[in-house]
Homo-oligomer: 714 residues x 2
Amino acid sequence: MPIQKSDADEEKEELDICFVGREIDMLNEPDDLKKHKDEGQWDFVAFPLTKLPPCLEQDGKDLPSEYDLAPSTDYFRQSDQKDRAGEDVGVVSSWISTDSNRVSEEFKNYSADALREETDLAAFWGTYACILPTPDSIDCDRYAAAVNEVLRTQSTQQCRLWLRIPFTVDPQHFDGGLGPQVPAASPPSSPAPPAAAAAAESRHPMEDVPAPANGAAAASASFSNLSDEDNEKERRRVLEQGCTSEDTYDGWHIFKKVKDKCGNPQHLFVALVLTKKLPPFAYLDRWRSERVAAVIIPLECFVENSHGCPQLPYPHTQVVHHFLRQKAKVLLQIAVAPSKDVRNFERYRYCIQKLWDEIKKLNVVERAGHRDQNCLQPPLQPLAENLESGVYSVFETDSVKYARYREALKLALEAKVEERTGQKGPLVLMVVGAGRGPLVTACILAIKEVKMRTEDVKLVAIEKNPNAVITLTDKKQMEANCPFWSKLEIISSDMRQNVNLEKQADIMVSELLGSFGDNELSPECLDGAQRLLKEDGVSIPHRSVSYACPVSSTKLWTEAKKLGEKFLETPLVVYIHSAYFPAVQGAQPVFTFEHYPNKDIDPSNAHNRRHTDVDFTITIDAVVHGIAGFFSADLYGSVAISIVKETYSTDMASWWPIFFPIKGPIFVEKGDKITFSIWRCDDKHYVWYEWLLTHEGKSTDRHNKGGRGHKMGK
Amino acid sequence: MPIQKSDADEEKEELDICFVGREIDMLNEPDDLKKHKDEGQWDFVAFPLTKLPPCLEQDGKDLPSEYDLAPSTDYFRQSDQKDRAGEDVGVVSSWISTDSNRVSEEFKNYSADALREETDLAAFWGTYACILPTPDSIDCDRYAAAVNEVLRTQSTQQCRLWLRIPFTVDPQHFDGGLGPQVPAASPPSSPAPPAAAAAAESRHPMEDVPAPANGAAAASASFSNLSDEDNEKERRRVLEQGCTSEDTYDGWHIFKKVKDKCGNPQHLFVALVLTKKLPPFAYLDRWRSERVAAVIIPLECFVENSHGCPQLPYPHTQVVHHFLRQKAKVLLQIAVAPSKDVRNFERYRYCIQKLWDEIKKLNVVERAGHRDQNCLQPPLQPLAENLESGVYSVFETDSVKYARYREALKLALEAKVEERTGQKGPLVLMVVGAGRGPLVTACILAIKEVKMRTEDVKLVAIEKNPNAVITLTDKKQMEANCPFWSKLEIISSDMRQNVNLEKQADIMVSELLGSFGDNELSPECLDGAQRLLKEDGVSIPHRSVSYACPVSSTKLWTEAKKLGEKFLETPLVVYIHSAYFPAVQGAQPVFTFEHYPNKDIDPSNAHNRRHTDVDFTITIDAVVHGIAGFFSADLYGSVAISIVKETYSTDMASWWPIFFPIKGPIFVEKGDKITFSIWRCDDKHYVWYEWLLTHEGKSTDRHNKGGRGHKMGK
């Protein structure tokens, strides 16, 4: 009975489903599986694929030459309800030890055989996924070879492989954590395990996540509820710590090793194990980039509340919450209670249900983001292609954006009225790129607020999309009772073409901005409209600035690649969820465009070409998949709109960020410098960006050369 | 309220939905749209996008220089329920005449403008689709140019373009069918319209489809319920008729013209108009290949039944039934009745509902085909990759196949028992590639039927997939009460490898066949197993033959291309629905493989290489997209299994046909010869097909050279 979520608003939306399962240690009888499933109404169970081989029941000394697989159950017969088959998850034996120095060569081979054969069995049964044991060494060559062999021989309908990886590996797992049944290599490897463990402990200080500080906005952007300033401090603190890539107990490095050795295959995921103590937030954050298919919560992570009920500590809930939103499954690692009290399970399950319920409470923008997460789309080209009515309709619902415009217009009108004292004739207020009229509405509201009379102001709307003009004209007719609407002059034309106007504008207002500021060609459009603005006229907005920061996201990069190689040279608009930003500096300014009356526009457009290099310092070992882009725009006075995280206009929903992918992800180490170089190029018909990244003196190809991946039609 | 269909069996299946809409001639008021929608509970309406321009209300003589679009409604405001927006269909003005010689140059330009602007309006409103008028000439350059312009400037979110194409165009539409408002060119073009119409009538004899003959099986394969023999006669008759590609009134040629001129764009579909009289079935059949998004049924197609209720003639229902299964929408062209009796509409809607209900009555195989239609998949490679339990499980449900095997086994056992009279020791019956055991079950049933005793027979099963062996062993244990099961010898090995057997087999039975017979490498496997068969032993099957015939299917070809260029060089398994077979000969044999005891197998495998050329004669102008492949296999005596249409084993569900695409579709004319050349190649590790088509002395590339698209691992 999966927990289903239907959205609060009226629109149909795909149901999101949260799957909560339980991991079973051992099946005593083949028939146990069904019983376990029914207990506590789990959506799925993770069950051991095989029985412990007889040779390991004792000391494991007399290994047979071949692994003799003994299935724990007849899964296919067990899952009699056919539509349930394929939800459950098979667990490969935990005694498997393929690479540790502590075990014999013979046992390593035996283990690698077992890993392959058990995974094959899960694929044969068609389980939804198969959980592989945590590699027992950072040098996991044999482990990766076995995984590769499985991936090579399985048919395309194979099940997913979930690597069980804890945030931080218990040093004992590598050094001395072998079960009694696993034979140690003789002679045992030299350094005493406790010492190694102690050393590891000091190299990688485990600690609780800092206590929450302020606000839910930050929470949605990071596991840590720190303010942005604190976040930067925290990033710097992590950077200055002694931990380096030699940090062999960090789960992320282990996962990366296996992934790299296997060539980053499509079917390989993480089943991320929560630890009682969580690592510093930069270490947590880094998992946002990976394909986390499941979060495994061991019993020890739960605490008791005042009623004696289990609950997760707040930092843990933050982590689970993030991955739930990313559609990961939750797997509770809870042994059968001695009393076999079913309600006992239900209380744990309820903890996750409560978390899921919170997702329903997301506000409109967060919900839209939840829906659109990681969904890539090439930027709109409203200049080259006419927008659809439905697109206008979505944009028009952004009350935050238009409230800011109204505020800016009010201030501008007040200033202009004072400035024009004594001058004759109405003030000319011109909306360029009026669409279906939302800025006209904002203008009229501002005019009313400053109490101007009909004869004080002449309102003009210019729009190039003939069908939007039809709707705008229709709206004018419907609003005939409003004197400002009824006197509105509608001009159906491109603002850059010859427009016959009696008067130039005192105030020109536009909303031509894209996710990266100028990427919908506001500079070119507004240049073309400058002759319609008086010499002392005001442009709203008068400045736009684009921002960038390095981003790590296996998900976004993989999705872009899936679209085709070309899309790795295309800026893509996306609500970035499965990602994190591994730079100390956060988002840095890239290009600035100023819009003031300027009669001497260079027809060659040379003044709109740009080139910038932006430097970043990396906080933590990471893989950089590209650059995330944002913008802010100054409307008038101190009124601005922004999608840059640090200055974000809360609840503004019109823009998601932009993602500039790079063709090959780059592995960067803590403290490395990385430079983002970007060019804004143009020819007679198009404008496009070219970009590259430089790391340790080595540059990537220059991406999107000549606009081969993507260009914007003028 | 779309008619929903949930499947009769227990498995979850995607809901199929049948959409029935009504076309509205004219909106008197903008508000009429909602009223029309509610009438008769239509799933959608097709409504005119614009009002008749004032200049055309009279004689259309004073055309303005530009088309002045006047929307018929404010669609976006009308569709207040947001989730309904996007279901309706906008209709572009029917007076548009872009290419006919009968209208003035000025009017042609005016028409082309209107076509573009109205389509833009539909895209702006975001209607589900937009119906374009039937081109008014077979030389429709200007029409295609306007469509191209629309496709070029629309954003990617544009609506679909549905070309309204009748099976046969009324000659008046080209020659004299202009409305009173459309100005004729002066001087009018020379030949008198009625004469032209009469000439057309004689060139393309309209006639009713021949009366149904026998059975529903043929119906699902063709619009005509003729027997296959009759079908071939009918194909020959069409071929011998005088109609040629000069047949300018054939709707298919017109659609092809527009499609070709526009480069076959993704967003272009047919809205196929039923005519009261239907053309010969080869003309109907040809539409199976095209992307028919909707079937438009004019009122005149309906007849009255004895209760005075409207119903469709049987041939018409066959056509609608086919396209319903192909997920086309149905659009009824029914004017508002003078009485405005809502129930009147409901009666027409009910006709379609009844047809849809019949789809629910499909048998298991037909339902599986309905679900899988046009869904392409690379062939299974059970030799190179181990199959999943779920795949075995699906195959095992094919009762028809195993009944045939049982019958063949029974006959073979009887013959062997007689032959061996006096010989000592049990008869050895060997299943090679036993999987989870369905052929073992068939063997045991046959043994019981011929009343052999346990000591008379030794049953051996060889299987290479270790996980299938686990299930088979498990089954043996469960069937311990059956003496044949409990004495079964299970050998976990590849049949080609050294198997230690006391005795050779008297009968060897296998089911290693693929959709194209030998494509799962049964020849190579059975060669390897020959040494396990006595010199006078029997192989079941003892022969397999592959078959091929040219196929026309825009749908299959487009889907293959979508998967990637490589897939145009890959044989693909598919239930072929949206297709037809334009060759007189039907399916012709390609490769034959015989399986008799043969101790002297050439280790080079040269004897399994093949090359064949197969000739076909084309019945009707068509576009060939590739070759469809089938197989038949002789099991024993006269017992055979077949997926060749002419000899199809009714209700056998294990195999869909195979599709060999070609990289570029070929236009062929009635009476043309076309030759399919195919090679079966191999190297040390792989077997693969290479193929090409030769038409009028010109050959395509040799496809899949060296197995670059697809090869089967030995």
